[in-house]
């Protein structure tokens, strides 16, 4: 509750700051202060049980150690994102305070979807995430690509919301209890009534839309490519992780008993996501577009958690959210400083900017899943979850093989950074690579290695 209400309040504060403070560099300090407040109060709620707001919410939101820890991790990643990208956010347009306000509203939505206990809250949370994201995608108003991305994202998002609502309506009709509470749905375990089966199917489709799992991923590359790079960085990391968390929560708490009935469908979606994401990423020339396909490929790995829904999957989704978010934030952070977004644009980066080159390499290695990085541990947990599930062992083999494919396109960038010569003198915007930026990159590298070597610092908190 703390995180939901405080971040919503701080969103309003940032909005007014945007009106009254004309200096463009002030909002970032306000935003970081606010985010630290939200983070601290969320941690206090998690470990000390301090709840600032005790509204009669009729059990519509349920907090426990697991989802509070998830919110903490997401807020932490967002803090890293703010500190790394503050100057880039200022460059997007005139209304800096409003961009931060929208991000705070999204954080509020993320806190709702991670704690929801009724389908109503799931719907509202997803919409609170989506609507500000449409605006952020469109924030580069004069740029046609940004316009195109926003319109596409908006139409697809609203369409999938319609499908989700239809699913919810059918579930409501099918349950004997006349309730939206997910733990009271009482869907039985035998053959499903038609209404429930259709509802489940529609919810599966719409959640796959939201987390961009194949075959409902087609909007992702265009939207991620067209949106301003800083905001792509936000929506392909924290927002996607939250989508998966909601997906997992829905399928564990509401449909967990029916796993035998939907597992084959999730299996098909998982394999399709892994194959399509990894294979299409190989052919991309633009690094930004390649990263958006890679986010589909990583979504395939996160789908393994939904396939398995066991303890390892719960631990894995926490690790994966952190590992994937940090590495992608770091990589997009480097990308925003590049003049040329193609892979050739990275040629010879190691000569001019050795630290940026090193950070990019660690992030790419983590995304590939090389040992000692966070990416390896998170992939390991996901595969363990699928193995412990006991069904369809070949899925694990497919996932590992496609992780090997992913090494090809990630290593192509590393090769360009270290082993190729640049034809032009300046490949980065020189003035923008400031020392705070470099320090934040080092922090990200340190976090990736720390989680990679000692994942218990996150998993241990779950059982603290």
């Amino acid at each position: 509750m703390n995180a939901i209400i405080l971040s919503a309040i701080w969103g309003v504060v940032m909005m007014f700051a945007g009106v009254f403070i004309k200096n463009k560099s002030v909002p970032k300090y306000l935003a970081v202060t606010g985010l630290v407040c939200v983070l601290v109060f969320n941690i206090l709620q998690e470990f000390n049980g301090l709840s600032l707001f005790n509204f009669p919410i009729q059990d519509m939101l349920r907090t426990d150690n697991f989802n509070l820890l998830f919110i903490t991790l997401i807020l932490g990643c967002t803090l890293v994102y703010f500190l790394l990208n503050a100057t880039e956010i200022e460059k997007v347009g005139e209304h800096v305070g409003e961009y931060y306000a929208l991000i705070f509203f999204i954080l509020s939505g993320i806190a709702i979807v991670s704690t929801f206990n009724t389908l109503l809250m799931l719907f509202i949370g997803i919409e609170i995430i989506s609507i500000p994201l449409y605006i952020l995608t469109a924030s580069d108003k004069r740029n046609l690509k940004s316009n195109e991305a926003a319109l596409k994202y908006f139409l697809m998002g609203a369409f999938s919301t319609g499908i989700m609502l239809m699913g919810i309506a059918f579930l409501y009709g099918g349950t004997p209890n006349a309730t939206f509470y997910i733990h009271l749905l009482q869907l039985g375990t035998g053959t499903l009534p038609v209404l429930v089966a259709v509802g489940l199917l529609l919810l599966l489709v719409s959640m796959s839309f939201k987390v961009s799992a194949a075959p409902f991923h087609f909007w992702t590359p265009d939207v991620y490519d067209g949106a301003p790079t800083v905001f792509t960085s936000f929506m392909s990391t924290m927002v996607k992780a939250a989508g998966f968390f909601a997906f997992l929560r829905l399928f564990t708490n509401a449909f967990g008993a029916l796993q035998a009935q939907w597992q084959t469908l999730v299996l098909i979606i998982t394999v399709a996501t892994l194959v399509i994401g990894n294979i299409t990423a190989v052919f991309q020339q633009s690094v930004k577009r390649m990263l958006s396909y890679s986010s589909i490929a990583q979504a395939g790995f996160m789908m393994l958690a939904i396939f398995a829904i066991n303890t390892k999957a719960r631990e894995g989704i926490l690790l994966y959210s952190v590992a994937y978010s940090l590495a992608t934030i770091g990589m997009f952070g480097v990308l925003t400083k590049m003049k040329d977004y193609t892979i050739d644009g990275f040629n010879g980066l190691a000569k001019t900017q050795p630290l940026m080159a090193f950070a990019a390499t660690v992030c790419l290695l983590s995304l590939t899943g090389v040992p000692l990085t966070a990416g390896f541990q998170s992939k390991f947990f996901m595969l363990m979850a699928a193995v412990e599930n006991g069904q369809h062992f070949w899925l694990v083999i497919v996932a590992v093989l496609l992780a090997a494919v992913s090494a090809y396109y990630y290593f192509k960038i590393i090769q360009a950074i270290y082993f190729k010569e640049s034809e032009t003198d300046s490949i980065v915007f020189e003035g923008t690579v400031t020392s705070p930026f470099k320090w934040m990159l080092l922090v990200i590298v340190a976090l990736i290695l720390m989680v990679g070597i000692y994942p218990e610092i996150i998993i241990g908190l779950l059982y603290a």
Partner: protein
């Protein structure tokens, strides 16, 4: 009236909406079709709410069948919020390219 009639009507509306989204090329008409989908859901929720209110099993349960009707209001509010953002995006698009045809979007690719 039988609940099947409500289901049939709202599914028909929903299907018209989906077909419209997939077939039409004008952004505003696509948008109207999405609204049609949402309103089909509203109709269905109200229908189910009535169905549950009349069934003896739900009468015994401590949950209110009117929950679905509250849900309908939430859908309306969210749809209104979505409209304000969506129309702003379409207007912005129109200012830049002087058309609301979504075929134009694919021409912009690369």
């Amino acid at each position: 009236m039988d609940i099947k009639a409500y289901i049939a009507l709202s599914l028909t509306l929903f299907t018209i909406g989906i077909v419209g989204v997939l077939v039409r090329r004008n952004a505003i008409i696509i948008f109207m079709c999405i609204e049609l989908m949402l309103n089909a859901v509203n109709l269905l929720l109200v229908g189910f709410s009535k169905m549950h209110a009349l069934s003896p099993a739900a009468k015994a349960s401590p949950y209110f069948a009117s929950d679905a009707q509250i849900f309908v209001f939430f859908i309306m509010v969210v749809a209104a919020a979505e409209v304000s953002v969506g129309l702003a995006i379409i207007v912005m698009m129109y200012r830049n390219v002087h058309t609301v045809d979504v075929n134009f979007l694919n021409r912009l690719k690369n």
